[in-house]
Symmetry: C2
Subunit: 387 residues, 2 copies
C-alpha cells in the first residue's frame, strides 16, 4: 500500500426529504446564492420549485445559471462567474448531475481568478481558492458530489479536461434517491457504467498490496451489477436507486484509490470521444471498457482479471486463469449490453476518420494508465476495435 493523505470533508445528507437541511447548510457558508442547473428536468420533477421556495422562505436571495449542458462548457462557466461578480454572490448551489456540479465547481474556482477560467482548466494557471459549493444530486454517475474535480469542455478547441483543487470539493451534498426516479433508462444505464468505470480505473492497478481497497472496489462493482438492472426494471425502486447513488459517491471520492497509483486510462480516451462527438460520457466508457480490457490482457495482467472474475462474477477460482479472465471480460460486456448500452462507436455516430487524431491527443502529454501503460498506437487500436 502506498502512502496517502485522506481528506474527504464533504458532508452528505442521504435519503428521502433530506432537502430539509438545505437552508441551514447554506447559511453556514454564505447568504447570496447562484443556482446552477441544466434543462427543464428539475422543473418537471418539481425540484426547482421546491428549492426556490426554500430559498425564498429563508431570505436567501438567488440568481440563476441555467442551461448547463452535458459535457459542460467553458462558456457556461464564464457566464456563471460574471453573474456571481455582478450580483455579489457568495455561495453556489448545483442541482443536477455531474455536468451541472462540475460547472458549479469551476464557476466557484474561476470567481477568484482574474483572467479567463479556461486557463485554470488547461493548467496554465492554478486554482488557489473557490467559493463554497453545495449540491443536490439528481443522477447517480460521476461522483462529482463528493470529490474536488471538475471536467470542462471547450468546443472551440475540441478539448475536455479535468481540473481539481481541495477548495472545489462541495461543502455538502444532498443525496435523495427519489430525485433519480425520473432518470430515463438510457441515463440510468450510462450512469451505472460510469460508476463501474471509476472503480475499474483504480481496481486494475499495479499496486497489488492495497488488498483492502481492492475488496472495497469489488463491493461497489457488485452493487452496480445487482442494482443497475433493478433500477432499469423499476425506476422508482428506492433500494436500487439508493444503493446506486451511494455507490456513485464512494466510487470516486478517494476511498478506492488512496494507497494505489493513480493514473487513469479509459477516461482519458473517452474524454477525446466526448470532446469531438459530444457523446454521453458513460456510453463512451461502456463501449471502450471491454475493448481496453481485452487489449491489455496479458501474462502480466491476467491475475488481476482472474481475481475480478472470481470475486465479482463468481467464476471458478480453479479454472484456467486466461479462460477466467476472458470470461470476466465477456461478462462485463454482456452486462453493459443487458443495460441497453451501445457496444460500438458507430452506433453513437463516431466514424473511423479521426481515431488517430484522438489517440494522439489522448496521449499527448504521456502514456495512459499505470496498470498497463498504453501509448498512442495502443489507444488507436483500442478505438479501432471499438468501432
Amino acid at each position: 500500500m502506498l502512502n496517502f493523505n485522506y481528506s474527504i470533508p464533504t458532508e452528505i445528507f442521504f435519503g428521502q426529504d433530506q432537502i430539509k437541511v438545505l437552508a441551514a447548510q447554506i447559511r453556514k457558508y454564505g447568504s447570496r446564492v447562484l443556482l446552477v442547473y441544466g434543462g427543464g428536468s428539475i422543473k418537471k420533477a418539481g425540484l426547482y420549485a421546491e428549492t426556490t421556495a426554500i430559498l425564498e422562505a429563508n431570505n436567501l436571495p438567488f440568481r440563476e445559471l441555467s442551461g448547463v449542458d452535458p459535457n459542460p462548457r467553458i462558456a457556461s462557466v464564464r457566464r456563471g462567474i460574471e453573474v456571481c461578480r455582478q450580483e455579489n454572490l457568495d455561495f453556489i448551489l448545483a442541482i443536477g448531475g455531474g455536468s451541472v456540479i462540475d460547472c458549479a465547481k469551476m464557476v466557484a474556482a474561476g470567481f477568484y481568478y482574474g483572467s479567463d477560467p479556461w486557463d485554470l482548466v488547461r493548467g496554465s494557471a492554478r486554482v488557489k481558492k473557490a467559493l463554497p459549493v453545495g449540491t443536490i444530486l439528481t443522477l447517480a454517475a460521476t461522483g462529482s458530489e463528493m470529490d474536488p474535480i471538475a471536467v470542462i469542455s471547450n468546443p472551440e478547441t475540441q478539448e475536455k479536461i479535468g481540473v481539481g483543487h481541495p477548495s472545489m470539493a462541495p461543502k455538502f451534498s444532498i443525496l435523495d434517491p427519489t430525485y433519480t426516479f425520473t432518470v430515463p433508462p438510457s441515463q440510468t444505464a450510462a450512469g451505472t457504467a460510469d460508476i463501474m468505470s471509476h472503480v475499474f480505473e483504480s481496481y486494475f492497478s499495479k499496486t497489488r498490496s492495497a488488498f483492502l481497497q481492492s475488496r472495497l472496489a469489488e463491493a461497489i462493482l457488485k452493487t452496480c451489477i445487482h442494482y443497475g438492472p433493478l433500477a432499469l426494471a423499476k425506476p422508482d425502486n428506492y433500494e436500487a436507486r439508493a444503493n446506486l447513488m451511494w455507490a456513485s459517491s464512494l466510487a470516486i471520492n478517494g476511498l478506492l484509490s488512496y494507497g494505489k497509483e493513480r493514473k487513469w486510462s479509459v477516461h482519458a480516451i473517452e474524454h477525446e470521444l466526448s470532446a469531438f462527438y459530444d457523446i454521453t460520457h458513460g456510453v463512451g466508457l461502456a463501449i471502450l471498457t471491454p475493448h481496453w480490457m481485452e487489449y491489455i490482457l496479458s501474462p502480466t495482467t491476467v491475475d488481476a482479471f482472474r481475481e475480478y472474475g472470481v470475486n465479482v462474477w463468481n467464476l471458478d477460482p480453479k479454472a484456467d486463469p486466461f479462460a477466467t479472465a476472458r470470461a470476466a471480460i465477456a461478462q462485463t460486456r454482456a452486462f453493459f449490453v443487458s443495460l441497453g448500452l451501445p457496444t460500438t462507436l458507430r452506433e453513437v455516430g463516431v466514424p473511423e476518420d479521426k481515431l488517430r487524431m484522438m489517440a494522439e491527443r489522448a496521449t499527448k502529454s504521456s502514456t495512459l494508465g499505470e496498470f498497463r501503460p498504453i501509448d498512442t498506437e495502443d489507444v488507436r487500436q483500442i478505438l479501432k476495435a471499438s468501432l
Copy 2:
C-alpha cells in the same frame, strides 16, 4: 437503506514516515500540547523520542499525561484536564492505541466542562465542545483514531461506558504501519478480533436494504482474515500491518453503519466483562462472538449468517442455509483459535459467580442489538455458554 448524515472530517496521514507532517498539523489547531501515552512501549520503540524531538525543534511546548491504562480510567482523564488547565494547553496529542486515544478525547471534552468529567461519560451532562485532538496510532484495533467516541472505565463503580460527540473526532491521525511492527502477538490477535467485531456489529443488521454497506463490511472482514495470520507470522510484514491498520479505521468510522440501524450487542456485554475483570477488550469480544452468533441463529437470522458464510468464507451457496450458517460460525471460532486467542471466559479468569449481575447491568437501560434484540436472560445464557 435508512437516511443518514455522513461526516468524517478526520484527516489521515497514512504510511511510512508520515510523522513528518506532525508539527505543521498541530500548528493548524494549537501551540501548547498535552502529550498522552501509556507505558514504556513508545519509549522502547523510539517513537517518544522522535515525537518530543519534533515538538522541541518546532517550539511547541508540551506537558505529559503518561501511564494511561488499557480500559482507560476516569482518574487519568481528571489528571489530564487538570494539567491542561494549569498549563494553559490548547492541543492534545495521543500516541498509542485506542485506550490512549479515548483518554485524550475525554480530556479534550472534559476541559470545557466545569464539573467532574464522569458526568459526561455516564450521560448526566452533555459534551458541547472539546479541545482539538491529534493522534499517532500504534495499534490497529479500536478505530478510535477516526471516530468521535471514547470508552472510559470507572473502577470504583465497575462501569465502562462509551460517550461521543462530533467535536471529539481527531482533527488528524498519523497511521504509520511500521509503528505496529513491535505489537506483541497477543495484542495483534486481539486487535484483529476487535476490528472484526466492529464489522459484525453493523454487518448483522435488520436493515437488509443497505446492500453496499454489507459488501463493504465483507471487504474488511476478508482483509482481517487474510492479514491477521500474516501479521502474526511476520510482525514486520508492512503489507499486512498496513491493511490491518486501515481496516481498523474504516471498520468503525461510520462507513459500514451509515444507512443501517445502529444498536450494538456484543460490545455492550464485553464492556461489563472488562469493567469487572479488566480483561483485554478484543479478547473478550473473541470469546463472546461465536457464542452470540450461535445463540441468535434462528429461522429469522439464518439468511444473514448464510450470506456471511458464502461471501466471506467462500462456503457453498447451494448448501442448506442452516448448515452454511453453522459452518460460518465454526469458521469464525476456528479463525480466532488460529490467532491464539482464548476461547473461554475461565481462561481469562472470569468465574461463574457474577454472570447474572453482568447480564443485568449490560441490559439495564434496554435490550441489546437490533438484528436480534437480546435481553438479560439472553445475555446470561451467552455468558454461560462462553464460560
